[in-house]
Amino acid sequence: MLPNRWNLPDLGFGVGLRSVHYDYILENFPPVDWFEIISENYLSQGGYSFYALEKIRERYPIVTHGVSLSIGCTDPLNFTYLERLKRLADLMDTPWVSDHICWTGVNGRNTHDLLPILYSEETLKHVVERIRTIQDFLGRRVVLENVSTYVEFAASTMTEWEFIARMAEDADCGLLLDVNNVFVSAFNHGFDAKEFIDAIPADRICQYHLAGHTNKGTHIIDTHSDHVVEGVWELYRYAYSRSGGRATLLEWDEDIPPFEVVHAEALKAREYRDTIKNTTELLTEAPTGKTPQELLTKFAEEYA
């Protein structure tokens, strides 16, 4: 198993915590490795949601996953939001704080969407500065996720994967590789999903996301409304064979089925992992990116 560069824990196979499942979880305490929460739903720290979260926290590791960091936005950082996020992260003792490589609005307006980044030097510099500030402020590793996108821009001067790799190195942040999002964007923009994955520094990947989507024929929408498709599982296996053990999480947000169904879907990831016979061997064969030896040497140098 290859460590990520900060030795952040491989939490195993988790499920995104959703309010429709609170009662089931509190009654049954199912054998889930960990839960990821949408940070914004708990920032007010009141009501039944927060009560349920506190009870669940007593038994499971919790990772906070936000949707409002708006890292690419040109507005100043919202420190009121960050203050609340920090308080929640501290309470949950989350091993890292994750959000998305996107922006959600501008001029104080929030579209509540994960809007696509313009992949330019200007954006890169802006995003890197903000990540560094946020990481210092939160006192935790920030881990950012690639999003599904439906449009590309002529003003972009680099590919998404080049942007992500450079962003992660320059800002010294972690990455949450959502393989469904890679699949969706690859379909929508016609790029090779494996080329994307090969370009991502494996030692910076702290977590994986898996989810279902909706194929409209002409494009795919990232709906999180269904089972994970075969192509995404294959991509997960491919990515996992490069990185080795990383916390893996299944997201299901629309038409949410009973908890057992969601959990069973998450556990399929373990089956795919188990089909990787020799991670190191597969890793050496990876067409580009760092070899395991390079990664381990680098890790040893930095943390000896």
Binding site: S44, D113, L115, H219
Partner: protein
């Protein structure tokens, strides 16, 4: 289809103008044509520059690709408002409700980090609108928002039976109460609580509209949460006044004295009313409306 180099060169856009343009287009509720040509969008990027920046795919045009974000924006905001003020849809009907969604978020776009705040300005918007029965609708929205606030309020432990029993008999006259955080009292000029109860009675499959009574008729409501279960209960005017006084820490004796005016001239009726409100007060104490008693 890839853009030509000259087309690309003429479309260099900067981050801030790109972002303001995209938000203007995504949050515009008209057609694609109207959104791209809207004042908010063209102030940032002319239609031509914007078109030069957005790339088509093999299967979708520039307009269709941005249109995905536009459609999702509408659905997301509509659903967020529906969560905050579900009964409003039954008062307006689906089609008018969707029109109202567009007008509302155009006038009051979200400025919060959370979608849970989506309905906050809705009563204000309704009062400013030309909707029929707008005062009723505004109060109905206020009731629904109040219920949401109580659901999300922090938990404060309620008075225990032991704490109540520990108050000396001769001290009750002067005790003051501290309410729990998850408690709100409202006086509405329209029968919005009656309406909301009828809405809650409907089965989830029943899509028929609920008629609004345009006539004013006071509704007094207590919304509180006990053991993470939220209740909204109708109050009489006297009960509302008493409970309002108690939650404002008015001493019990004075609060009771102040509501005597509601009990009528007839001594027998007044006696009955007094007994009734006393038993309601005991129910409030036992059902966890108060967090502390100060003697």
């Amino acid at each position: 289809m890839p853009k030509s180099t000259t087309e690309q060169a003429s479309t260099i856009v900067h981050l801030d103008e790109f972002q303001r343009w995209m938000v203007a287009v995504v949050s515009h509720f008209g057609t694609d044509e109207e959104a791209w040509n809207s004042e908010g969008a063209t102030t940032e990027l002319s239609h031509e520059r914007a078109l030069g920046n957005v790339l088509p795919s093999q299967t979708l045009t520039e307009y269709e690709r941005i249109g995905i974000y536009r459609r999702m924006y509408f659905l997301r905001m509509r659903d967020a408002l529906l969560i905050d003020v579900p009964s409003i849809r039954f008062a307006l009907g689906q089609s008018l409700f969707e029109e109202v969604v567009e007008q509302y978020f155009t006038r009051y776009p979200s400025r919060s980090y959370t979608l849970n705040d989506s309905g906050l300005m809705f009563p204000t918007f309704v009062r400013e609108s030309s909707l029929p029965n707008k005062e009723f609708l505004a109060e109905l929205a206020e009731l629904e928002l109040a219920i949401s606030r109580v659901i999300e309020a922090p938990e404060t432990p309620p008075l225990t039976a032991e704490q109540i029993a520990a108050v000396p008999a001769d001290a009750w006259e002067n005790v003051c109460f501290v309410p729990i955080a998850a408690l709100e009292l409202h006086a509405f000029t329209y029968p919005v609580h009656d309406y909301f109860c009828a809405f809650e009675e409907k089965s989830s499959e029943d899509e028929t509209l609920l008629a609004i009574s345009g006539e004013p008729s006071y509704n007094y409501v207590c919304i509180h949460r006990s053991d993470y279960h939220t209740e909204h209960t109708a109050l009489t005017e006297a009960e509302y006044e008493l409970l309002t006084a108690l939650t404002a820490s008015v001493p019990l004796g004075i609060a009771f004295e102040a509501v005597q005016k509601h009990f009528g001239e007839n001594p027998a009726d007044a006696e009955k009313a007094q007994q009734h409100i006393t038993s309601r007060f005991q129910e409030w104490m036992m059902s966890g409306l108060f967090a502390a008693i100060r003697t």
